[in-house]
């Protein structure tokens, strides 16, 4: 089992507009990226489980080959800066990903 911290060089979350949180993982090794992409490891289900979301709140998952990256877009709990928000830039929602361990 290898941890995401070991496999990825970038793991980050950020707003993509006020209503969507976009999550990026950029992998260090092309082989690892290709393998995970081919098995669709980062399916909508993966993201729903990671954050405890309804499946419909995972808007899209996109693989970006030029930098061996996967991007997921999920619906924010609360729009950026609206009452009840806890992270206006959406920049600190990535920590659960650091805990993920993958058999690769």
């Amino acid at each position: 089992m290898r941890s995401m911290v070991e496999l990825a060089k970038v793991i980050r979350t950020k707003n993509s507009g006020p209503f969507i949180l976009t999550i990026d993982i950029i992998f260090k090794e092309k082989e690892v990226y290709e393998k995970l992409k081919n098995m669709d490891y980062f399916s909508k289900n993966f993201w729903a489980n990671l954050y405890g979301l309804k499946g419909s709140d995972v808007i899209s998952v996109i693989y970006f080959d030029p930098v061996c990256a996967v991007k997921a877009n999920i619906k924010r709990k609360v729009p950026s800066g609206s009452p009840g928000d806890s992270d206006v830039y959406g920049a600190q929602q990535h920590a659960p990903l650091l805990e993920v361990k993958i058999d690769v």
């Binding site: 060089k9 993509s16 990026d24 899209s60 996109i62 030029p66 990256a69 009840g84």
Partner: protein
Amino acid sequence: MFKIYSPTAILGYGFPEQSYYNALEIKPDLVAVDAGSTDPGPYYLGRGISFVDRGATKRDLKYLINMVHKLDIPLFIGSAGGCGSKSSVDWTFEIVKEILEENNWHMKIAIIYTDIPKDKIKESITNGNIKTLDGSSEVGVEDLESITNIVAQVGIDPFIEGYKKSVNIIICGRSYDPAPFSALPIHYGYSKGLSLHLGKILECGAIAAEPGSGRDGLIGVLFDDHFEVFPINENRKCTVTSVAAHTLYEKSDPYFLHGPDGIIDLTTTTFTQKDEKTVIVKGSRFIEGKEKWLKVEGTKFVGIRGVCIAGIRDPIMISQIDEILEIQRELVRENFRDMTDDYQIYFHVYGKNGVMGEWERFNGVSHELGLVIEVISKDINITKMILGYIRSTLLHYGYKGRIATAGNLAFPFSPSEVIWGEVFEFKLYHLIKLDEYEFPIKVVEV
């Protein structure tokens, strides 16, 4: 060949002086800078003010105006004053004017307002010429009343129109981030796909370099069939990873970047390392929009926020914190029975789930908690009353098993509560059809 200097991620975020001198030597054809973002949240558009300090903005502008004066090249500012409302455009103009007068320089400035009157939005709603965008919800005519400022995000056209009036500086309201960088090369005949893609990379300054920085810049050089991008600071480099990764940044889809002019199509884009610090980009294409749909942003007034910050160190209290806070809500309801709909209460419990809320998967809790008590009401007096009531009630609340009977909260400050200010929320974040709409351009000589 067309050289563009992007000095910093946001006007007012700064840049090292040495980077400025390096850029002077390179002799760019254009200095362009993005001043805006919706990232800092709805407050700034709600009030029509900048999220960057005036002094910091003036510091950057002093250098940039000095450069365009020396080299006789144009300076394009997009999303002036952050949110790009008329008030923030005028704020930016006042700073520019001040700098010109202090140096006794004379320049011609185009001021472009991108505010949209409410009647225009009403018309779009009535005619069905409005679409929700990226998770925004339906909006009705009745919602418009509480909206304070509305801006449209313009593309390259107003910059080109402004430039045709032979100005030195363009100060534009809310703009598509790549627009100030790409309008001029497109006007000169460079590829739209390449110019806009380059603009997308340049708009965040050295964030697309390694090490990345929001307070440093990049140079982009356009050629007929490709562009090159490199950092202005010798201690950074642009790599295929740093540049391509930036294409992902803050965007939902890295292959198709939607903007007011159309779509940048990156499905055939290639990134190649030219030398240690320069990346060559080829193959970015442009899909022209069939109709003119512009994004509009508008914020609604919600109320006045009051905040109280306190620490909790007692382990007996910490072990039952959720229950204790829930009881405080009930005690407020009970004490102010006649006004249950007039306020909102939020407890941000740092050390437990203050950052991630219901998304938090970690079940543990820290040995001490930072508690932010937040109250919002349309009436400042209600905000103060409810916040004060929670503070005093929670301070002396007798929870189960309590041994420390002197007080439950450690306040770092006196006063322990503060009125934080107005609260807004994004209400308009939609596309509206604006086929024939002309944004007013005012030309001023200083």
